[in-house]
Symmetry: C2
Subunit: 357 residues, 2 copies
């Protein structure tokens, strides 16, 4: 038979064991003034011997839960694991515990998850690539110290950490154009909301692609498939691009997961990477570096982004009225085996599986 749950050790037990007053124990627990080093040592010993764990709920009512809530849009995007590593490493020596809220898909699910974190009195929030409206983000940030990762645009209520996505897209176009490609296509995440078009990294990458194509004199070659930043979005986007009259010789996918989907569609069409077509991703996730994939990809340094986000949220918890900070990091390009010079004549559409023209 399972034993019943043992009674929880309380502050009263600790006081009795240490032979001090409960007020003294409380002072030590709150790190308050007036607790002598000797008192601290005595109380700490009693805490250790009894295995006392102060309830975080009780601490929450006193003002702090020592919890940072991190909202992740997608556990399967390994780039987010890099950001999280940066956050946990940065918080490693502090009393803060990171708790992740998973599985946000769209504004409604996101609202529910953010509410749940606020309800649980988290001391600070790190929201990764949120899709919520600006109004909503401002409301959240006014109630809890908040750092937003991966969203551009000005903000007066929260700090933000972004990668320069326009520069990242330019790195890709320049790399491909330097190799001799002209028909460089892009798979973007479909977006219609005007605020998101201005703030989301996906929209910035699409803009950066267009700008860079123009800057290289390739304005007429701009060719975009508008799907989603998912494996399937990449697959569908590449299928669409391959069936167009002038097949691209290179595809710039807006994220590594998108590139993987594109690679699957390219293989299905009987084409070879990079001989028939070059592919570039974005995020330089562990997958991109994985030998058999070896995907050329833009490196955003997720760990650095995460470390910055953690530092900012701790600063903001300490001083909620300070001016907002925006950290913008500069990306680099990791060149691997999915990009090469176009083969002469590859622009001819003969190898395309189902030419529509």
């Amino acid at each position: 038979m399972p034993k019943p749950a043992p009674r929880r050790i309380t502050i009263i037990d600790v006081a009795r064991h240490a032979q001090v007053s409960t007020t003294a124990v409380s002072k030590v627990l709150r790190n308050a003034y007036g607790a002598s080093p000797a008192m601290r040592a005595k109380v700490q010993q009693a805490i250790d011997e009894l295995g006392f764990r102060p309830s975080a709920a009780a601490r929450g009512l006193r003002g702090q839960t020592y919890t940072i809530g991190v909202m992740l849009p997608d556990l399967r995007n390994l780039f987010f694991a890099d950001i999280l590593d940066g956050i946990t490493t940065q918080l490693g020596d502090t009393d803060y515990q990171v708790l992740l809220a998973p599985g946000c898909n769209g504004e409604q699910a996101e609202a529910r998850v953010i509410d749940a974190m606020i309800d649980r009195s988290m001391d600070g929030l790190v929201l990764i690539a949120p899709v919520s409206s600006k109004t909503r983000l401002n409301t959240v940030a006014r109630s809890v110290p908040t750092v937003v990762v991966g969203r551009h645009g000005s903000a007066t209520t929260y700090d933000s950490v972004t990668d320069d996505d326009v520069a990242g897209a330019a790195l890709v176009v320049d790399h491909l154009a330097d190799l001799g490609h002209r028909r460089i296509a892009h798979i973007e995440h479909h977006e219609t909301d005007p605020v998101r078009l201005a703030e989301m990294p996906n929209a910035q990458r699409a803009n950066g692609y267009r700008d860079a194509m123009r800057a290289r004199g390739l304005a007429d070659e701009i060719d975009i498939a508008s799907t989603s930043y998912t494996h399937h979005g990449g697959y569908a986007g590449a299928k669409e691009l391959l069936s167009r009259p002038h097949r691209p010789t290179a595809i710039f996918a807006g994220a590594d997961v998108v590139a993987l989907g594109a690679m699957e569609a390219i293989a299905e069409a009987g084409l070879t990477i990079p001989d028939d077509i070059s592919v570039v991703g974005y995020d330089n996730s562990a997958l991109a570096a994985f030998g058999p994939i070896s995907l050329t990809s833009v490196d955003q340094d997720g760990r650095e982004m995460g470390a910055n986000a953690a530092r900012l949220v701790i600063d903001r918890i300490a001083d909620r009225t300070r001016r907002t900070v925006q950290v913008k990091l500069t990306p680099s390009l990791a060149v691997r085996r999915t990009t090469a010079a176009p083969v002469q004549g590859a622009e001819v559409n003969s190898a395309s599986p189902a030419p529509t023209e």
Copy 2:
């Protein structure tokens, strides 16, 4: 200038707005007897109009936080994302919110994370593949309703959900032996602790491999590299196996991430999969199904495991004294392109990069 945080709406505001007593509001919030449907409707309307959010910390002191803590050993193992999907889907319609504690690596980090979840008064815990001692798991489970996923052995304090890992390993050996392989090697996770040797899935898979090899009359061909269930562990394990006098014609890696590392070492050695060597993983994660990888792998149905874990933890929260339940699921094999019949003469060691004999 950022605005100061607005005052939090309290139960008093709700009572005033609804023109009822605070006791009445409290009753409705606690779902207590004695609150009429009319009263409920009135209070609910005031809650909606004011945007009142009852503090989960305050609810925590009343006994429930409606939070399930899930401990994940590794965010980069995509199989865990499947388990999590199962958990969140199962809890979808309930009031429970899932919060993940990430980044456990070893017993000490695990202890810290579990303590943090207990401190935050979580209603129940789902521990995925914990490495803690049995004593420690029992202590945790006596204090919080707990479900352990992916750990064998009997338990009187917590429920468990496992895959039949011995059967899974047998599926792999039988598949490879049916194809004609005899030199089937295994990459295991190095383990010395006697309890873990009996309870951890990795140890069960290694045992299952040995049993199945014996059952197929291949006892003399048993060949194990003992590394770790990581990408690097797979890489190092495969390198070791490939340098042995009698190179295997097939490698059974204990997890998909391990198989990916092995594939990298095999490619580096100038060998082709499956022509020179077959590779099998375990978990059937999204990576295994990904076209260019197309890894034969044992399917544990992580979603089903997660759904069972969520159901059990909710049941246990409702009745902490009920008898423990052990759910054991039966795996299947997803056959893909990394396994084929051995080429005649492939057992001769000529293609090995650095033969030692």
